[in-house]
């Protein structure tokens, strides 16, 4: 099936998420949509899937214009989609999830799940998915849930499958398996739109690559295109691949984590005996695929996550078992991974967000009473220091762009003397200009002698900032390696291969070539 988008624009108010996009997906083709976070890829796919109505432009299936008033129409036209955040109902079984919306019935609307189970087993066998139709979705690992999503599309006879950032939650091994599945699907006659911002995967599997930047198509290229050129196209200017930072001058190891463990409510060990030190004046970057215990690690240190064992010591003082307030008081600066959920109160003014964890401390408060003048003065200073773009500090934080919101969080956390600085995903969803600014601030904090811990799933960011790199895999530290470790080695470690083996494999491969 051939799919064509002609001049598609999608506006939210005065902001154009997509502008005049042309795209042709040929029959049996893996067409990659490459672009940074926030470039407008997901919006475009939601338009294609009928979830959004385009402001302008048209969609053609096999050269005939079509209009989708909802996902039902898109599915009927043979389009299937695997969303970045899975659209599965956790308390339903696999069969119920697959059946939903296209249920087989025994007549009179009575469900016949047996038909669905049979279809699932059929597809599962054909592609080697190993999916049990009667398993509850909430009990399944992420990789399997993704296969359930693919089954959902295939059961509906999708001829074009949209995969929205499918590898974000997968290990490199699972990613390779997925790429193999994609090739198989293509061989069986399915076209695929593959959305990603990861160059390696894109180059490995695509037939054509279309690059999107700020909502517009900036070029269509062959997969053989050089990586640097692709990166330049995606980002829009020559990428400075390394931050100019001085070598670290590590001091005493004032932050020590020993045997830290977390068991979640369902009894799964999410953090398993994690131990490491961070020295003063050093950045330790924690790398790993999303969901390998990063969130639990930072939250356990902060105290929002209950710890089941181990210790966390800052300058000899035990942090576990303390309240969050007490941890922050002992000199910890904390930038959470999701700013709009944990870092900011979107409805609060920028002023108020600037003192979100300082509101009851001098000079902002005396006893129960707050000093609103000080709050105002502080905000004015931080806005200037961090170049937060706003015309009024009384505007709600939600009025700021992602990058400026992150600056507010970062400014707040760096505005007091720190003994430890922790930042999770410090530049997620931040525009390129701000990334560099924020990175410089982090390095400046290190140079001031603070131990710094960066948690990031972006390998580029890890490699750019780290003085040492710890890799988390399934809740365990799978080795701590020096900065400058080759990214292939890091990739293998993120997939669970030990540091030594990964090094060895890397060397043998290097010799083979």
């Amino acid at each position: 099936m051939k799919l064509e988008l002609r001049g598609i624009s999608k506006a939210f108010g005065s902001f154009y998420a997509n502008k005049g996009i042309d795209l042709v997906v040929e029959d049996r083709q893996i067409h990659c949509l490459l672009g940074e976070n926030g470039a407008g890829k997901s919006t475009l796919m939601n338009v294609l899937y009928g979830l959004y109505q385009p402001t302008e432009g048209e969609i053609l299936v096999d050269d005939k214009p079509v209009e989708f008033s909802g996902p039902g129409d898109a599915m009927a036209a043979g389009i299937g989609m695997v969303h970045q955040h899975f659209m599965l109902i956790p308390v339903f079984t696999v069969a119920e999830n697959v059946a939903l919306g296209a249920e087989a019935t025994k007549g009179a609307g009575v469900l016949d799940l047996e038909v669905t189970r049979r279809r699932i087993r059929e597809i599962s066998d054909r592609y080697g998915f190993h999916v049990d139709p009667d398993a509850l979705v909430e009990d399944l690992p992420v990789g399997v849930q993704q296969r359930v999503e693919i089954i959902k599309a295939l059961v509906r006879e999708a001829k074009v499958l949209i995969l929205d950032e499918p590898t974000a939650v997968l290990t490199p091994q699972e990613t390779d398996e997925l790429l193999e599945i994609m090739r198989q699907l293509k061989a069986n006659g399915t076209s695929i739109v593959f959305i990603s911002h990861k160059l390696r995967e894109v180059k490995a599997v695509s037939d054509v690559i279309t690059v999107i930047r700020r909502g517009e198509v900036v070029g269509s290229v062959e997969p053989s295109t050089d990586t640097t050129e692709l990166a330049n196209l995606m980002v829009g200017r020559a990428v400075q691949l390394s931050l100019q930072k001085a070598a670290a001058v590590p001091g005493e190891a004032t932050f020590q984590v020993r045997d830290l463990s977390v068991i979640d409510e369902s009894g799964t060990t999410t953090l398993d005996s994690v131990s490491f030190d961070i020295h003063q004046g050093e950045i330790l970057a924690v790398a790993g695929v999303q969901g390998n215990g990063q969130t639990e690690l930072t939250e356990a240190i902060l105290g929002t996550q209950m710890v089941t064992g181990g210790s966390v010591k800052l300058q000899g003082k035990e942090l576990t078992g303390r309240s969050v307030k007490s941890v922050l008081r002992s000199g910890v600066g904390f930038v959470p991974e999701d700013r709009s959920v944990h870092g900011l109160i979107p409805e609060f003014s920028i002023e108020e967000n600037m003192i979100l964890d300082l509101y009851d401390r001098p000079p902002f408060a005396k006893g129960l009473s707050m000093k609103l003048g000080e709050v105002k003065r502080n905000a004015a200073k931080q806005i200037q220091d961090f170049d937060v773009r706003t015309d009024n500090p009384l505007n709600p934080a939600s009025s700021l762009s992602g990058g400026n919101q992150q600056k507010v969080v970062m400014a707040r956390e760096l505005s007091r003397p720190l003994k430890l600085f922790i930042a999770s995903q410090p530049t997620r969803g931040v525009d390129v200009g701000s990334i560099e600014f924020l990175h410089r601030r982090i390095v400046a904090e290190r140079d001031a002698g603070t131990p710094v811990m960066i948690v990031s799933t972006e390998l580029d960011e890890v490699m750019e900032l780290a003085d040492r790199i710890a890799v988390l895999y399934k809740g365990k530290i799978n080795g701590i390696v020096p900065a400058g470790t080759p990214r292939e080695v890091l990739g293998l470690m993120m997939a669970g291969v030990s540091a030594e083996e990964a090094m060895e494999q890397h060397h043998t491969e290097g010799e083979d070539q």
Binding site: F12, Y49, L51, Y52, G70, P71, G72, D73, M75, M81, H83, M87, L88, I89, P90, V91, F92, E96, A99, L100, G101, A102, E103, T105, G109, V110, L111, K152, R258, D259, S261, I263, D264, E265, G267, T269, D272, S273, T308, G309, G310
Partner: protein, 426 residues
């Protein structure tokens, strides 16, 4: 020695089982043993199972007060001990044990109050039959709650739907002279209240709880106003609906205990059994039900599969209104034959409690409503036989039980994931 060689990271493989259940069971068991047993009256409690006109006569159950409760108390203490043992093993106490425990507690309580009363004989058959009758509006109300909340809309307005149904049934039946027309009209009135809930919460995205709370006040105001201005001016024309007949199924209705419960009901009573079955079957066995539950759990996922979330919710809320409205007709067409202000008397909130206590399941809600109806009827019976237990404490029972249920003291009660959240696309 061995303890020292163990690494510090040896941890239990699962988090500790909460203390709640064992502690709660122990407290109850001790109360039964001490208050109902040791301190209880030694007179016998007699429960009559047969009523006049039964096909055959069952013997009267006789429980010696103190002795029976001491035995039950010991059993309950053992069960509580078992619950502690389970916890030590890292296991949760089985649900059926908790249910049997609760049933034994109720029995023990009955023996205690009856043996300590002035009259130590009650008719268990009449008590149960009365409980079912009192439960009728609760069941309809709770089914309305289940229908709405399963699709993701909080229904605080059950009280208003019942009241609107009661009022409309009365006035329409009076004016047409036909209680069956009143019954149909009651359903429509409930739907009308629901429609307001649906429009405001789905179309205008007003917080569902606000709309529900305000609707109760609105319906109370309108019915109260019309009662004074219309009904009271000419009660013969506007407020004498006549009753729906009680239909006895010959033969079956004279089986002791279950005969009156199952085979001697008004049309509304029979409709109740039918409605419970239909809602249960619909929700769990049909395409419609799968979609409803999906919409209530994860509306966005349902939307991506082409299910019209808000349309689905709209019709479910409306359907819920019809069901509750029919339930409301019970007050004016079955219980008594006229309308008075606030005739629903807060039963909509008990129905809401039944939804939660029944874990958003039609059968569960039905059982919970029966339990609350039982408590309600027991209160009346106990006042008649003259027990020391103040009737107000019996009246509090449904509310206390619900507080325990939502606080997780008796099992865990968690609603549909998306309940209360309006669904918008952009």
């Amino acid at each position: 020695m061995t303890a020292q060689t163990l690494p510090t990271s040896v941890l239990p493989t699962r988090p500790a089982v909460p203390l709640k259940t064992p502690v709660f069971l122990t407290v109850i068991a001790v109360i039964v043993l001490v208050c109902f047993g040791l301190l209880g009256s030694s007179a016998a409690a007699n429960f009559r199972l047969s009523t006049a006109g039964d096909a055959f006569v069952l013997p009267t159950l006789v429980f010696p007060g103190k002795a029976s409760n001491l035995v039950i108390g010991v059993l309950l203490v053992l069960a509580a001990g078992y619950s502690w043992y389970r916890r030590k093993q890292g296991l949760v106490t089985q649900r059926w044990i908790v249910i049997v425990f609760a049933a034994l507690f109720v029995l023990s309580f009955l023996i205690w109050v009856v043996s300590g009363a002035n009259v130590t004989t009650i008719s268990l058959a009449a008590l149960l039959a009365g409980a079912v009758v009192l439960a009728v509006p609760l069941v309809f109300g709770s089914l309305s709650g289940v229908l709405c909340e399963r699709s993701g809309v909080v229904n605080i307005a059950i009280e208003g739907q019942l009241l609107a149904g009661a009022f409309t049934a009365a006035i329409v039946a009076s004016m047409t002279g036909n209680p069956f027309v009143g019954l149909v009209a009651a359903g429509l009135a409930g739907a009308l209240v629901s429609l307001v809930l649906a429009v405001f919460s789905i179309k205008y995205l007003v917080n569902q709880i606000i709309v529900g709370v305000v609707l109760n006040v609105l319906v109370s105001g309108i019915t109260g106003f019309l009662f004074t201005t219309v009904m009271q001016r000419d009660p013969d024309l506007f407020n004498s609906p006549g009753r729906l007949p009680i239909i006895e199924i010959p033969g079956l209705s004279s089986i002791p205990v279950i005969g009156p419960i199952l085979f001697k009901q008004s049309v509304v009573g029979y409709l109740m059994y039918l409605a419970v079955f239909l809602v249960w079957f619909g929700l769990y066995k049909t395409r419609w039900g799968l979609r409803v539950r999906a919409v209530g759990e994860h509306p966005k996922a349902a939307d991506t599969l082409g299910i019209k979330v808000n349309v689905m919710r709209f019709w479910n809320v409306t359907l819920g209104g019809i069901v509750a409205g029919i339930g409301g007709s019970f007050f004016t067409l079955v219980a008594i034959d006229s309308f008075t202000k606030e005739i629903s008397g807060g039963r909509g909130f008990i129905a809401l409690a039944a939804v939660i206590f029944g874990r958003w399941n039609p059968i569960g809600a039905f059982m919970a409503a029966l339990l609350f109806g039982f408590a309600d009827n027991l209160q009346v019976t106990l006042t008649i036989i003259g027990t020391p237990v103040p009737s107000q404490f019996m009246a509090m029972m449904p509310y206390l039980v619900t507080i325990f249920a939502v606080a997780g003291l008796v099992g865990r009660s968690r609603g549909p994931a998306a309940v209360g959240e309006p669904y918008t696309k952009e």
